[in-house]
Symmetry: C2
Subunit: 234 residues, 2 copies
């Protein structure tokens, strides 16, 4: 087993936000693997496209977007086996992750399967979290404030006390939970200052105050940055 698996964060969307190290690794990767949806869309590969060598072996891994976990688990099992096979043939493999590999990224599913069995290196990347803050030119949290990253699929009973206890939060994985989350943020007092950032750093980037979304409208690839009050942060 002499190939190395590189788990690479490719950043939030703008190819300019790849790191020097990510680019350097892509230059020598024999195999470039990445998650894809069944519609053959693969955002991580699109982000890194300019830096993938023309003779690299491309390895898209279709991850079923089901709510149950087992179809995705099976896909990662298969990907891990394929990657091990490449590594055994002395090929270096780069696995592309949107954002950062270990910030709610896909890399953990490969790490849990391959750590110990293969040499694994991790290249951190720019997250959509800080990219969204940059888009609205506002700190995620001020000074010694707590920052909470709250996945939207969690139930209101879990999210409510977390929001009530803290002024600064970022809601991720919003998708189909948007209407519920907006109602919750109204209740906790965060809604008036909450901002929705969609497609951060890409040409489709859109910045919208939460309360300007019409009912029925839903943001895509978005992070909701929440602040309570409008405290001075200077």
């Amino acid at each position: 087993m002499s190939g190395t698996l590189h788990l690479i964060g490719v950043g939030p969307g703008d190819p300019d936000l790849l790191t020097i190290r990510a680019v350097r690794i892509l230059r020598t990767a024999h195999v470039v693997a990445y998650p894809a949806t069944s519609e053959e869309s693969a955002f991580a590969r699109e982000i890194a496209a300019d830096y993938i060598e023309p003779d690299a072996i491309l390895m898209p891994v279709t991850i079923p977007m089901a709510i149950e976990r087992s179809p995705a688990q099976t896909a990662y099992d298969g990907a891990a086996a394929l990657i091990l096979d490449h590594l055994a043939r002395d090929r270096n493999v780069a696995w592309l992750c949107e954002g950062d590999p270990l910030f709610y990224g896909s890399a953990m599913y490969l790490l849990s399967r391959l750590n110990g069995a293969a040499r694994v290196e991790i290249v951190p990347g720019v997250t959509s979290l800080t990219a969204s803050a940059a888009a609205i030119a506002r700190p995620l949290a001020a000074r010694n404030e707590i920052l909470k990253v709250l996945p939207a699929p969690l139930p209101d009973e879990t999210l409510r006390p977390e929001l009530l206890a803290t002024p600064a939060a970022a809601i991720i994985k919003v998708g189909r939970h948007f209407d519920r989350i907006r109602d919750l943020l109204r209740e906790t007092g965060h809604a008036p200052n909450a901002i929705v950032v969609e497609h951060a750093t890409t040409i489709r980037q859109r910045i919208t105050p939460l309360l300007s979304f019409g009912y029925g409208e839903r943001p895509y690839f978005s992070t909701i940055l929440c602040y309570r009050g409008d405290e001075a942060w200077g």
Copy 2:
């Protein structure tokens, strides 16, 4: 006013973790400004050193490390005035921030003074948070877990309930608060699985289980990654 102020995240320490965009901006910046301590150490400049043009005007800004805020505020007031003056002379200014500009970074102090008065662009960077997770090859939080970023200077009464409510947290700004934080993490059940990452991504990087630190010993430039239990995250 035709110069642009670029607030640039230079990442956690390894110069390879600068982004392509940060490097590109440094190539055309007339002035490179950065926070420095009174001992003339300036970590952000050290990180970016290879990419600063030899004819750039260097502008170190000494930020007093006092607990009271007003000396630092005065330093940022002075820096803002100097930067405005450069911008008025058509010079582009790059302000270097360790990690990401808006993730507990120094950029907010310039933003609050200059936003509106100058054209400001923000380049997000890799945080020490995700770099620390990469160092220990472990996700910050699994799947739909909440992740909390907890500044160590906050009092135990604030931190305790936050820790008790959640398995995954990252403690930042540890410094002189280390002994107190360790005691608190013992109490909340996080200590046995907590890892201290010092100087992430630099040659001085050191990874130590929290409970292996002797009393009196104190980590430097560190993040404590906390997990409760040892749940499977694969």
